[in-house]
């Protein structure tokens, strides 16, 4: 049926080209073009032999963002053409002749690379923005408006069979605080795909120019979370990233990406329940603690502490990493401004323990005891280890001795 339609359209086009007599035209007005293009059946075969509609809906064009422009503004060949109908196959429209910056950004983006043998149409401006019906992103009906934006990306990226499918990420995003606010609560300020990934300039995360390339992540998140960015930049983590230490965490290392959730929600990677293991991913990691000379086993030693145990058993009122160390503005304990610097320790402990005084600060906090940092703990541990071990050896030796004697006597009795 469709093929029959397209055949009919093609015939109609050819007839139209023959029938219309050549006419002199100094400039082609929209009205001139609409003489043919307002016809819904106007079509031609494209170079793959498929029907390509040449219909331009006059009503939609009139209200489009470009509605005030002549056709020749985009279809530049028309400016030189004096006769209508014009020859087939006008040169492709080049949006970037007006939208210069966007054109340059797009040309360098991943989407521009999609034109290939396997995918001849590739992606161009019209894929997202539409063509004659193009609307400003400020228009809520536009596919690129805030209310339709994520759905637009998902038309390709949630496609099951496609290699560009990112279903897992999309699923996570829908459940995340950003996704819930943007998609179900209609919060126009909540982050959508393009807010982090960029729109025209979208690039894979391993590209150094990408907005989601590791060192750029803080500024990307900071576009909305400006105060947090300022805190983070002053922190030991932020300074390390600025100095090029890429093992240091950026926002997503603690908060997650598409899974991001408010700290008040227990499933969040930065909730009171999960923050110890989130920090522990680096601070319990032997490779990292060795490489940067950080104290080892910060998570396991915390887990063995009162706070850690209470936390594991659901008492979230107990101190977690962030309660004492802070979070975005976290500093090294040796930094005099740090909340866990010895000068501030009594005050920091005092947030929960009103009796916290000098005594709280006289000792090490969740360290792996070594001879150097905790000789007392080290020796007591060693003493009991040796004492219990020696006793066990003595007991077992005695038990063996006693049974040897017992069996010997019994053999003797029976022999006698």
């Amino acid at each position: 049926m469709r093929q029959a339609d397209s055949m009919r359209s093609t015939c109609f086009l050819l007839l139209a080209l023959l029938a219309v007599t050549p006419a002199a035209a100094a400039t082609t007005s929209v009205a001139d073009c609409q003489k043919c293009h307002a016809n819904q059946n106007l079509a031609q075969l494209d170079n793959r032999g498929q029907a390509l509609s040449l219909f331009v809906d006059p009503a939609k064009y009139a209200v489009s963002a470009h509605g005030g422009l002549e056709c020749a503004a985009c279809h530049v060949d028309l400016a030189q053409m004096t006769q209508l109908p014009h020859p087939a196959n006008l040169r492709p429209v080049v949006c970037s002749s007006c939208h210069l910056a966007e054109g340059q950004e797009f040309a360098a983006s991943s989407h521009a690379q999609l034109v290939s043998e396997a995918n001849p149409p590739g992606m161009n401006c019209a894929t997202c923005h539409g063509s004659h019906d193009i609307l400003s992103p400020q228009n809520p009906k536009s596919p690129t408006s805030r209310s339709n934006l994520s759905a637009l990306c998902l038309t390709c990226h949630e496609n099951e069979s496609d290699t560009i499918s990112v279903q897992a990420e999309v699923k996570a995003y829908r459940k995340s605080v950003h996704g819930r606010r943007a998609l179900t609560q209609g919060d126009a300020l909540a982050a959508q795909c393009v807010d982090c990934h960029g729109s025209h300039k979208i690039l894979p995360r391993d590209n150094p120019n990408s907005s989601i390339n590791k060192p750029h992540i803080p500024e990307t998140c900071g576009r909305c979370h400006a105060a947090v960015l300022a805190d983070y930049r002053g922190s030991i983590h932020g300074k390390a990233i600025a100095a090029g230490v890429m093992d240091a965490p950026v926002c997503t290392d603690c908060h997650g990406e598409h899974t991001i959730e408010m700290s008040q929600v227990s499933t969040s990677s930065v909730s009171a329940e999960h923050i110890p293991e989130t920090c522990g991913r680096c601070h319990e990691n032997v490779q990292l603690t060795e490489k940067y000379g950080m104290a080892a086993g910060r998570f396991s030693t915390y887990s063995d502490s009162y706070h850690g145990l209470a936390n594991q058993y659901g008492k979230t009122v107990a101190a977690n990493c962030a309660s004492c160390h802070g979070y975005h503005h976290i500093l090294a304990p040796t930094d005099p401004a740090s909340s866990v610097h010895p000068n501030h320790l009594a005050a920091t402990c005092g947030k929960c323990h009103p009796n916290a005084g000098e005594n709280f600060t006289k000792g090490k906090m969740h360290v792996q005891a070594t001879l150097e940092n905790s000789p007392g703990v080290f020796f007591v541990r060693r003493f009991y280890y040796i004492f219990i071990g020696a006793l066990m050896v003595a007991f077992i030796a005695y038990i063996i001795l006693e049974y040897t004697g017992f069996l010997k006597r019994r053999r003797h009795r029976r022999g006698a």
């Binding site: 396991s300 887990s303 063995d304 009162y306 145990l309 209470a310 594991q312 058993y313 323990h353 009796n355 916290a356 005084g357 000098e358 005594n359 709280f360 600060t361 006289k362 000792g363 090490k364 906090m365 905790s374 007392g376 703990v377 007591v380 541990r381 009991y384 004492f387 219990i388 006793l391 066990m392 007991f395 077992i396 005695y398 038990i399 001795l401 006693e402 049974y403 040897t404 004697g405 017992f406 069996l407 010997k408 006597r409």
Partner: protein
């Protein structure tokens, strides 16, 4: 009728039962906390009603232990029988020589049993070990019980040591009871399945003559038993 020798008073037997019941609860609730990072430890904590119930159970058992410890110390200080018990437990220089005999007898290289008094040196060491261990556990335990208030009294490093000593000392006591005391009263040759004197409080005169010859002779001399 077989003559008997009284070994423990009723009070001492009751103290022993209260002591071991409290120690069993303390060991189970304490070890489950010590091994909270293992599946077994977590299972035990669950069995004990969760982390907080475990703590309450541990402290209730500790109160019982504290009570029996106080009672025992009063009895050995202020009662005649108690004072006699401590005298019987006092190690003597001659005990050291008997250790050699004991080991030779145990290994079967001599048939002559060691000439122990009422208690062997092993039993004496165990008694004072228990006194020392329980005192250590009570003192460290009380500081830990105070929690943050205790931290106001002691510097952090001393609290760290307190916690460490409490755990390790507990482990030590547990291991001694398991590998030494329980072995001796249940599995040692002649005691299987169980030495009944912790219930009856007595042993036969014949057992006394074999195991505690010096005590047996003393009892004959004082006329407390007839030969």
């Amino acid at each position: 009728m077989m003559p008997w020798v009284q070994r423990f008073t009723l009070s001492q037997r009751i103290q022993h039962v209260v002591l071991f019941l409290s120690l069993i609860v303390l060991a189970l609730t304490g070890l489950s906390l010590m091994f909270h990072d293992t599946a077994l430890g977590q299972f035990m904590i669950k069995l004990e009603g969760g982390l907080q119930a475990r703590g309450r159970l541990h402290r209730w058992a500790a109160v019982v232990l504290l009570a029996v410890a106080i009672y025992h110390h009063f009895s050995i200080l202020f009662t005649v029988r108690g004072q006699k018990l401590v005298r019987d437990f006092m190690p003597h220089a001659s005990d050291l020589k008997k250790i050699r005999q004991a080991l030779r007898y145990a290994g079967g290289s001599q048939d002559q049993r060691p000439d122990w008094g009422k208690f062997s040196l092993f039993q004496k060491a165990q008694y004072f070990g228990v006194i020392l261990g329980v005192l250590t556990m009570i003192i460290t335990g009380l500081f830990l019980w105070m929690g943050p208030a205790g931290m106001g009294l002691l510097p952090k490093w001393l609290m760290d040591l307190t916690l460490l000593v409490h755990g390790r000392e507990g482990m030590l006591i547990f291991m001694i009871l398991l590998f030494w005391h329980l072995y001796n009263v249940h599995l040692a040759p002649g005691n299987f399945p169980m030495n009944m004197s912790w219930i009856s409080g007595r042993i036969t005169a014949e057992e006394c003559r074999r195991l505690y010859p010096a005590e047996y002779r003393r009892l004959l001399e004082t006329g407390e038993i007839q030969g």
